[in-house]
């Protein structure tokens, strides 16, 4: 299956392991990812609240590039923010002719043009669950993650907003749960799995951000998670890098490793940890990964 691939800035830097793990499972999953040539930043979450129109234009450029590149009609973004911005822009351009017209005027300056709807934007999770399918994934599992209690963390962006038909329930997403189960892992069900990680509030109002992060860690821990599986560089960064600050600030002792779901897929497929970038995380994943056994635990008999 051919897709356009929009890595977004963080995949190059802090989310390197997301990138490498994705690349190492792309082949076995039969995903052909063609990076969009000369892509630019998506404007993250802030730009839209500062000045919407240029923000749309900024994202519109990426869409325009994708629509020109062949095999990129279906565009994949691994970062939730990139994904949402791309999808939102396509949606808004389609809904509001004036925005469409203005953005295209801007694009014209760069000799570009974008027809809303000509590119369909997907998050990589959606593609793996929907296009590849759990059947195919089960088939590829070499080393099932028996015994590992994983808390799937969706963050607040990918299933929202509901009005641009999202691929999962906006309030109570479950797509990653199924995926992790098919890898043999034990999935933790906890209520905050679709709540905010604080995003860039770590820079703006650390107080608020830390509280948000604490809630997530606590809720996952309370429900017995060994490890949290994320689908977004921002989420991973906040939960992982700020875990110490949270502990310091709230006098807590959380040590929950935060990994990308692509890394867990890789592990189950028997890809060497190094290739998957395991070890790059700040809170080490090793103690958790050590819990993986070759025998399904009580009541975890897969059928």
């Amino acid at each position: 299956m051919k897709y356009g691939y929009y890595p977004g800035c963080s995949m190059e830097k802090n989310a390197r392991s997301y990138h490498t793990s994705l690349m190492s499972i792309a082949e076995p999953l039969g995903l052909e990812l063609n990076e969009i040539e000369d892509w630019n930043c998506c404007g993250a979450t802030e730009y839209f609240s500062i000045d919407a129109l240029p923000a749309y234009a900024l994202v519109g450029r990426n869409l325009a590039l994708a629509s020109e590149q062949n095999g990129a009609e279906r565009l994949i973004a691994p970062c939730s923010a990139c994904f949402l911005n791309l999808k939102k822009t396509d949606h808004v351009m389609g809904e509001y002719p004036e925005v469409n017209q203005k953005v295209n005027t801007a694009l014209k300056a760069g000799g570009l043009n974008y027809q809303p709807g000509s590119v369909s934007v997907h998050h990589i999770l959606e593609i793996i669950v929907k296009d590849v399918g759990l059947e195919a994934i089960e088939e590829k599992v070499q080393k099932p993650l028996h015994g590992l209690k994983v808390a799937p963390y969706y963050g607040c962006l990918i299933p929202r907003p509901a009005d641009m038909e999202s691929f999962d329930d906006p309030e109570h997403p479950t797509s990653m749960d199924g995926l992790l189960r098919s890898l043999g892992a034990t999935v933790i069900n906890y209520p905050l799995k679709a709540q905010c990680c604080g995003g860039h509030l770590t820079q703006i109002s650390e107080e608020t951000a830390l509280e948000l992060i604490r809630r997530l860690l606590k809720n996952a821990a309370d429900n017995g998670a060994d490890i949290i599986s994320t689908i977004c560089p921002m989420c991973q960064l906040n939960l992982d890098a700020y875990q110490d600050s949270v502990n310091a600030h709230f006098k807590t002792k959380y040590k929950i490793p935060i990994v990308y779901f692509t890394q867990l897929i890789g592990l189950a497929f028997g890809v060497p940890e190094k290739e998957l970038g395991i070890g790059k995380e700040i809170v080490s994943a090793q103690p958790a990964l050590a819990k993986i056994t070759n025998k399904a635990p009580e009541g975890e008999l897969a059928y």
Binding site: K140, E171, Y190, E298, L301
Partner: protein, 1129 residues
């Protein structure tokens, strides 16, 4: 406009000033004068109020004096006064339908301020009316006789009221309800707002009145199938569902006490359970029991080749009735403990529980029951028969066959080549899975019932089939498949290469084998695993299984694979041997990696070799377990190209009449139950042969099939499958049985996971305790036909399913309850005897939140207001205060809607009782505590719109005040009765203001919540209203129906049948003999769809004929159309 007079009609035109309503905008005088210009117009007048008596007399007199033949009144909407003026016309002596109305007020003077335009439009509308009316024809209303019997559908309070009203008036009433008892939702309610009187106390007397009323025929547990006919004479088909309980039932409840099944109770919604044979609630009317049982078998029973009644014994185990369970098991199965250990349990693959979390551990439960009870007796024949049957092969197939024959009293002797009985059970399955003692015990039981065994006797060698045929009246050949297939690769024949099946047999028979340290086992079936684990036990160091497909396709039982890996056996998936290397003695094997291609006919994906991926692995032995072949030997039986015996697919009869064959020697290597099923089939055939019965009739369901029953899975609490305890790794060097069997506690828990997909588990215990013999499993559903004159539909509503709002957590968070759960909880007779407690059934909540507008006034779900929720939420608050004086109660509402007598006062009372009313829609309910004080509580997140703040309210219990929704099947029902329903599924009334209980179909009425959300008083009022409308029709004896009807001119009908299926009322019939279609006038509702469709203009729509409409059209366009003499309008 028309100044050439073609029709010689005298039209009188009357224009109403309607005070200034019309005259204020339209130049009435001018128009009146202008109208006279139309050649058809005899007189044109204007009047202050045409609807006044003077106005009407004006018409009457002109008809009498000037001899008008047609009348046009230009005034308000026909919906306002058409009737009035038709009557005036009639009083004047003309047919009322020779009148036409022009709507110059609503569509004219009121719709614009532009006087000129309004006047112009008035002229057009009047001219149109004149041109139309000259083409009017006199019409007569259509009389229809009314059958006094009435059908009331739905036995809720609305239906009950309507039924009683009519019955009291001396009319026959049929009351149909799909539930076993009438009473509807009101019966579930504890107290009614605002008076707080006990719902049951006011309802049950009415229910019993219905039950006892001589004029009411109560048809519960029944559904309306079809409705034909029309007002006055409907013919209705009603299906009575099978209750399996006849009218002898005395409601003594003995059956209920012994029934092992427990399913969630429809009546006690989420919080109560009921048995399979049940009575919805103690005051049920009619007061008899109903056995709920699906027409098809439970998945596990259907999926089992021998149809072992698993559902039955699971239910009994759950009740601790182990003896009964064993009785049920051995009834179908002579090898119970063996199957409990080694069966491939196909039943578990189809178990519906697997769609919730994991299948029930059905096989191990059987083992548990057998182990628990220990000793048992197989069924003995009631009377002996003389016929003798010889069975060749003492494997599962032969044994099963023997048992069934013996049960029927036949004399059975089994021959086997091996020194022990049991076939593959003895020599194919390693002892750590199936201990010798177990085998011997169960074979012993078979001997006990008089089956003879002759071992060490090989057919075709020690005794021939011919001789057997002489000695016996029938022979069953089940010699199995004991010969290992070869892979067909180079070097396969040197020593060190073993056949799996022979290997296992030698081990089991204690023959000497010399095994090296490094073993490669080829294959992916159970015997591959058995071989590997056995080799390990014999001391092999490294045992590796090589399988050519992936783990997913591996046929071996998942659990076995797990155990093997646990015992340190490694498995190479997607790998296949290409050659065995060594000189006469195996040294290494060359393996090749495979990838999966397209699925083959087994449905599994075909393995394809990856070129150049070959690699060598040193090893001492290769054991091949890729499947066995039958070895028939010289049996004189016709065999096919795979060397299997050829048999009749249904009867298993071979080429020799008296000889039957089955099991592995016919179908190739198969499961134990598979083989047993064949034995049972053979036994059945032999029995039929002996008894000279039809050999084929009614045998479709022999062997496994897929049951078509569907069970509701959502909202099931996840409960993991119990895992069988095993002996620790260190004890697994010998052949000690690995699985220990369930503990009683495990077994109980496991058995209780059963979903009872067929509800009744067919254990027939109830039959045994029912003194009046009221239980009749042979009962079948019947359809009765009713003739009625009118129908009242009162099918009520359903509660909004709160699961649809995931963020409210219902079904996920234990202590979130729905309004009906709470109603049942606070009812003294309910599951908790009226105690308000959390799901744990003991803790009393200290803080309770009641969330209003759940699923109502919400664009994502239902836009409308459900009308009753505010009131019952307040009632809940009151009841909580009453039951738990110290509890804090929070009502979270959007707007407080309390219109109704005493309602607002009730609200004030609650304000004084100290309920916390918080205005705002709840955003989310979660159990995620972020502060210590929130631990273990439910957090209700809401924006308090009165103080404009977000609030998090920690509570112990949340009650979701779910809204009212139309019944799920309302669309189909509305079709059934031809009523039409709105987009929310509520039925359409004829007029929202003036005809709230009538529908578009004459003689069909709606009442209660099926028309829209309403509370009890409103529903009762509507029930009464519907009843009185019906009563008035019955009183009239005949009704006159509007003559606006279609009719087909036979001479012009070509019989093209375009119109036939256009009529929503099936009023058009095709007369085959005359090859023309015909309209059944009484059914026709006059919509005219067929008229517009008829391609040969053969259908007239009375009062809306083509010429009438087209003349109206042309008259209307007088000012823009081409010159009249050209237009020949």
């Amino acid at each position: 406009m028309n100044n050439s007079k073609e029709q010689n009609e005298k039209v009188g035109v009357y224009i109403c000033r309607c005070g200034s309503n019309i005259a204020g905008i339209i130049d009435v005088e001018g128009v009146a004068k202008w109208a006279e210009g139309n050649a058809n117009v005899e007189v044109s007048r204007e009047n202050q109020f045409m609807c006044s008596s003077t106005g009407q007399e004006l018409i009457e007199n002109d008809i009498k004096e000037i001899g008008l033949t047609r009348v046009v009144v230009a005034s308000c909407s026909p919906h306002m006064h058409e009737k009035t003026f038709r009557e005036a016309t009639e009083r004047g002596g003309l047919n009322p339908y020779l009148f036409e109305m022009a709507n110059i007020r609503e569509h004219g003077s009121w719709a614009t301020n532009d006087k000129e335009a309004a006047t112009q439009k008035a002229k057009s509308l009047i001219n149109a009316a004149v041109e139309r009316v000259v083409h009017h024809q006199p019409l007569d209303k259509i009389p229809v006789d009314i059958n006094p019997a009435t059908l009331v559908v739905g036995g809720g309070i609305t239906g009950i009221t309507a039924a009683l009203e009519l019955a009291e008036g001396g009319n026959k009433v049929y009351l149909v309800d799909k539930e076993p008892s009438i009473g509807g939702h009101m019966a579930q309610i504890d107290k009614t707002f605002p008076t707080l009187d006990c719902s049951a106390c006011i309802l049950t007397p009415k229910m019993s009145d219905v039950g006892n009323h001589p004029n009411i025929e109560l048809m519960t547990y029944s559904e309306v199938e079809s409705v034909d006919g029309y007002i006055g004479n409907f013919s209705v088909a009603v299906t009575k569902k099978t209750s399996y309980v006849n009218d002898k039932c005395t409601a003594c409840s003995d059956c209920e006490e012994i029934c092992p099944v427990s399913v969630s109770s429809e009546f006690d919604v989420g919080i109560g359970t009921r048995t399979a044979i049940y009575r919805p609630f103690p005051q049920a009317i009619p007061n008899t029991y109903t056995l709920s049982k699906t027409t098809d078998d439970s998945q596990c029973v259907a999926g089992c080749p021998i149809h072992q009644n698993a559902h039955g014994y699971i239910s009994l185990i759950a009740q601790g009735k182990y003896e009964e369970a064993v009785g049920l098991i051995v009834a179908d199965n002579p090898l119970p403990g063996i199957c409990g250990r080694a069966c491939a349990h196909l039943c578990e693959d189809v178990c519906d529980r697997g769609n919730v979390d994991e299948p029930i551990s059905i096989a191990y439960l059987k083992r548990f029951a057998m182990d628990k009870v220990g000793d048992y007796e197989l069924q003995r024949p009631e009377n002996e028969q003389k016929q003798r049957v010889g069975i060749v092969g003492a494997g599962p197939s032969g044994l099963a066959c023997a048992y069934d024959l013996r049960k029927n009293g036949y004399q059975v002797k089994i021959f086997d080549a091996l020194p022990t009985a049991g076939g593959m059970l003895t020599v194919g399955i390693p002892e750590y899975r199936l201990p010798k003692e177990q085998l011997e015990k169960e074979i012993g039981k078979i001997k006990d019932i008089g089956v003879e065994f002759k071992l060490n006797t090989k057919i075709g060698q020690d005794i021939t089939l011919k001789e057997l045929e002489k000695q016996f009246d029938a022979v069953y050949v089940a010699t199995g498949a004991h010969e290992e297939r070869k892979i067909g690769i180079p070097g396969e024949n040197q020593d060190g290469v073993l056949s799996g099946i022979k290997f296992l047999r030698d081990v089991r028979l204690g023959n000497k084998i010399n095994l090296g340290e490094n073993i490669i086992v080829v294959g992916g079936g159970d015997s591959a695993i058995d071989t590997a684990r056995t080799a390990k036990r014999l001391g092999a160091k490294n045992v590796t299984i090589v399988y050519r497909r992936s783990r997913k396709e591996m046929p071996a039982a998942f659990y076995e694979i797990e155990e093997a890996m646990y015992e340190g056996i490694s498995i190479e998936f997607l790998t296949n041997p290409v050659s065995v290397n060594g000189n006469n003695k195996v040294q290494e094997v060359t393996l090749q990696r495979m990838k999966l291609g397209t699925p083959d006919d087994s449905g599994r994906r075909r393995p394809i070799p990856i070129e150049g991926s070959e690699f060598d692995v040193p090893c001492d032995n290769i054991i091949i377990t890729i499947g066995q072949r039958p070895d028939i030997g010289p049996l004189l039986l016709k065999t096919n190209k795979w060397g299997s015996v050829e048999v009749d697919q249904v009867t298993l009869q071979t080429s020799r009449k008296k000889v039957f064959a089955g099991g592995d020697c016919v179908v190739g290597p198969d499961t134990i139950v598979g083989a047993m099923a064949q034995g049972k089939t053979a036994a059945e055939s032999i029995h039929r042969m002996f008894q000279k019965l039809d050999m084929y009739e009614g045998r479709e369901k022999e062997g496994a099939y897929y049951s078509n029953i569907k069970v509701d899975l959502d909202g099931r609490v996840i409960a993991k499958r119990a895992r069988i305890p095993t002996i620790p790794l260190e004890e697994r060097d010998g052949f000690k049985e690995v699985n220990l069997g369930f503990t009683e506690e495990q077994a109980q828990r496991e058995a209780n996971r059963c979903l009872h997909c067929s509800i009744c588990c067919d254990c027939h215990l109830c039959e045994t305790v029912c003194q009046p013999n009221a239980i009749d499993y042979s009962m079948e559903e019947e359809t009765v036909f009713l003739s009625v004159g009118n129908i009242i539909v009162a099918t009520g509503y359903q509660l909004f399913d709160s699961r649809r709002i995931p963020q409210y957590g219902y079904g996920r968070l234990d202590n979130v309850f729905t309004s009906f759960e709470f109603e049942r909880m606070i009812t003294a007779s309910g599951p908790t005897e009226g105690h308000i407690v959390l799901r744990d059934r003991k803790t009393e909540p200290k803080r309770v939140a009641i969330v209003h507008c759940v699923g109502s006034r919400d664009l994502n779900y239902n836009e409308y207001c459900s009308k009753v929720c505010c009131m019952y939420s307040i009632k809940f608050a009151h009841l909580v205060h009453e039951h738990l004086p110290n509890a804090e109660v929070y009502n979270l509402y959007i707007d407080m809607r309390t219109p109704g007598k005493g309602y607002e006062e009730f609200y004030h009372r609650l304000l004084e009782e100290g309920t916390h009313f918080i205005r705002g829609r709840v955003a989310e309910i979660s159990d995620a505590a972020s502060q210590p004080e929130e631990e273990g509580k439910l957090m209700v997140q809401v924006e308090n719109t009165l103080i404009g703040k977000q609030q998090r309210i920690p509570v112990d219990m949340v009650i979701l005040s779910a809204g009212m929704e139309a019944q799920a099947d309302s669309a189909e029902v509305s079709h059934l009765f031809k009523m039409g329903c709105d987009s929310s599924g509520f039925f359409n009334e004829r007029h929202p203001k003036l005809a709230p209980v009538a529908t578009m179909t004459e003689g069909v009425f709606i009442a209660g919540a099926c028309q829209g959300p309403k509370d009890i008083p409103d529903s009762v009022a509507q029930g009464g209203a519907a009843a009185s409308q019906v009563a008035s029709l019955i009183g009239q004896g005949t009704v006159m129906m509007e003559p606006v009807r279609a009719s087909i001119r036979e001479d012009d009908c070509s019989g093209c049948r375009i119109c036939n299926n256009l009529c929503p009322y099936s009023a058009i019939e095709f007369i085959v003999d005359d090859e023309v279609s015909e309209v059944i006038t009484a059914l026709c509702q006059g919509c005219g769809t067929c008229v517009a469709a008829c391609p040969s203009n053969a259908i007239d729509g009375a009062h809306f004929t083509n010429i009438q409409v087209i003349s109206q059209l042309q008259g209307m366009l007088w000012d823009v159309q081409p010159e009249p003499e050209k237009a020949n309008a």
